[in-house]
Amino acid sequence: MAKQKIKLKILRYTPEKQKKPYWSTYQLEVDQDSTVLDVLNEIHWNIDGSLSYRRSCRSAICGSCALKVNGQNILACETPIHKFKGKKLKIEPLPGFPIIKDLVVDMDNFFEKLRQIKPFLILKKPLPDKEFTQSPEQFSEIRESILCILCGACTSSCPSLWSNKDYLGPASLLKAYRFIFDSRDDGAMERIDMINDRNGIWRCHTIFNCMEACPKNINITEYISKLKVKIVENSI
């Protein structure tokens, strides 16, 4: 495999040592079809071991490795460097979240918001002996929304979140959609009551950054719109 020289800038920050994040430049040789994660590994393993980032599955399913590269949120493990067409890479942690160290951000708040929309089936009917029936059409309503890997790329890219850290964010709204539109669920009203809030769904201004950022290409805005209409139908 042909090697390639690349230059990149990484936003580094060690809270024990610095007050503020700073840019650090690296120059190295990598395979042409490396992913961003391969490059980070290369640096971490062979150049500077103190670089920290998150990664686990390296097959775009666990959601650990969301980062901002050249102005866009991506999954490091699935994005080949040739996608940036020879441009110098500029790697930073996800915007909108506090940095813990280097490329690692604090996602606690993100998960906490997820918890608040009651992300589980709420059942008011008795359990059947076997499974609940659900037709393929009913399943297809939620088919796309279950792809979400909770990487946070969407929520982090939303300008509404930047100006209001309490905004629920697209990932949680998508999760709410996934349950409200699940044919088995009986808890729609409880969840609607939760997201129908000043800092809930109404902070979404159809900006579409979330969709651009989502590595799973989920049409998040569409589902948020469907929720808005449903809420309006229910509350007026």
Partner: protein
Amino acid sequence: MKKNFKETSKTGARVWLFQRISAIILFVLLILHFVTYHFINKGIIKYTDIMEKMKSPWFNLIQFIFLLTAVYHGFNGIWMMVEDYVHPKLMRIVLFGIIVIIAFCLLFIGMLTIFKVSNL
């Protein structure tokens, strides 16, 4: 432990829906308005032209709706922005007051014009 995202305000749905309804009304009226006043009359409107039109109660009604929707839509929009950027509760209440006052002032001026001129 952590800050709960939830506030109690449930007005979001109404703000959202009415913003859209007023937008549709405005879309029609505003473009009509601009075309009739700014393009057709060569843009120079004479006092007498207006007085002529003002005789029709329908015209006045439309002007009134226009005024109402424009002010509502505009200040509703501003309120949406305030909710985006202003977080302290007290500040919000103060701003809400200011917005409402300005809105009513504008409404008042507008209505004054319509009522006085049309001799209703």
